[in-house]
């Protein structure tokens, strides 16, 4: 009898589980009078020095050293920060077939940080005349998601981003190369520009949790209210 109850409980939780994951999937709706979140992400004080990366392979092509691009700060404004609305189940349409460019360029990844919506594909290219291998790792435990060789120049290899979360990108052949793809559940994620600014638009009115993430400085989550047709400012200052 006990066993039966267990089975029923199991089946129910399974059904509920399925139902809830379905409910979580992003739904495209008509957002006619959406609001906007815009702001500037800054860094207070002297940013930590970027380490000098020693390029020990393909020196004649890559060069011998380069400064890492972990902290890109211009006049106190921080680039390469991901800003993303976490809890939005329905909203503006987006191009599901879009290919998000990701280049191996001069033995570095370009861009260093980018975003993609779950289901979109990353278009990995190699503009260098040497072998790179683009190794994508999922989540904080960094488990292999894909590992693709790029022995030949200028051929875009498309790989689908199947799960939300932070994807770390490395090249085994050149161990200093490092990049990130933030895979979001919805199209409301972006990366700050060189002047630290960002804009997310087409947001249905409501109160949301917005995540601000930097590869070295960590993440903060802020609550933001968006009104119909309005613009909400969201600034944040990181410090060491």
């Amino acid at each position: 009898m006990k066993k039966h109850i267990m089975h029923i409980a199991l089946a129910t939780s399974l059904i509920l589980g399925l139902w809830s994951t379905q409910a979580l999937a992003y739904k495209v709706i008509d957002v006619s009078n959406g609001g906007k979140i815009t702001g500037v992400i800054s860094f207070n004080g002297t940013p930590p020095a970027n380490p000098t990366l020693k390029m020990t392979k393909d020196v004649d092509y890559c060069g011998a050293t380069i400064s890492a691009d972990y902290y890109v700060v211009n006049n106190g404004k921080l680039q390469n920060v991901v800003v993303s609305i976490e809890n939005i189940d329905a909203g503006k349409p987006y191009d599901k077939k879009a290919i998000i460019p990701f280049d191996n360029k001069k033995c570095m990844f370009s861009p260093h940080v980018t975003t993609a919506v779950v289901g979109q594909r990353l278009g990995v290219n190699n503009t260098d005349p040497i072998l790179h291998n683009t190794h994508l790792y999922h989540g904080p435990k960094k488990k292999t998601m894909y590992n693709i060789a790029l022995p030949l120049k200028d051929r875009v290899i498309k790989k689908r981003m199947r799960k939300p979360g932070i994807v770390t990108v490395q090249c085994d052949a050149h161990e200093w190369m490092l990049g990130y793809v933030y895979v979001s559940k919805n199209p409301y994620a972006t990366v700050t520009a060189a002047d630290g600014t960002f804009t997310i638009d087409g947001i249905p009115p409501g109160t949301y949790k917005v995540k601000i993430w930097h590869e070295k400085l960590g993440e903060v989550v802020k609550e933001v209210t968006v009104t119909a047709g309005g613009t909400t400012t969201l600034d944040h200052t990181f410090s060491q």
Binding site: T56, K57, D58, I130, L131, N133, T134, H135, Y137, K141, K142, K143, T144, M145, Y146, N147, I148, A149, P151, L152, R155, I157, K159, R160, R162, K163, D172, A173, H174, E175
Partner: protein, 313 residues
Amino acid sequence: MKTRNWILGLLVGAGLIAVLSLAVSAKTNPAPEEKPFYTMFFEYSSATGNIHPVGESPPVTPGLLKYGEWTYRGLCIGCHGPKGDGNGAVWELGEQYIRNEDHRLPRKPRDFTEAVFKIRSTPSGSLPTDLDLFEAISRGLVADHDMPSFKFLPERDRWAVIAYIKSLSERWVEEADYQEEPVEIGQPPMPTEEMILAGKEVYKQMKCAKCHGPKGKGDGPSAPELEDDNGLPIVPRDFTDASQFVGASDPRGIYRTFTTGFDGTPMPSFADFLDEEQRWQLVWYVMSLRTDWDMNKAREMLQAQADTAGGES
């Protein structure tokens, strides 16, 4: 008193006869490979000793799963751990006695809760097929004596433990819709000198030497810093020694390895850059780097294989 002894003697005698007849019947039994699968299902003792399954895989039932768990507890838990995360006693003890490098396994046992696998006929990023797992477990991952071969197990036990391993990660359910089809690998063409020469060119174009070195000895410029998913150092395979391969070291196995890559290691997938012809050229070039390479022998073996219509070794 006397009658007691007599009864005892009778019992012992009967026991002897039973044992003897068992031994005889074992001898007269047909070779395990020739048995239909359903008999194997009921006779626990039949060890088939094969890497490729002879019978069909049984349906996954709660009973099979339970059975798989027992098999796991009996044979795999020491390395792969009670949770299946690779933190078994063998690994943990290795960590504890880190001063003595001999105590350590060179590779961490696979974490089945993460379900990232090396040996796959499926493209990089996809889960292996059951058959891939069957072959990996049967063959073992023998480089550096990482994992013993389990081909002595009855097929049912192997299928059961596979079903159990697959119950340890949500990936098998969550990502079921995203799985890509396995790569089809045909019969290898006969190797020729020209083919090997062409393969050398492919090896150069694909820049395998970056990791594996110009002569395939695993000593390329990028080799020293390579790490696996566990952050442990890993060396590219030395192609001169086939006994160190963890996947199949036959032509089709090598084809599969560089086509789909070894997920969880730096060994990437070259699927998008090679056509069928180039792949076989590359296979034969890699094979030809073995210290005991002998073209005529390879041709003979391939011919024999084609004649018996067998699979890979």
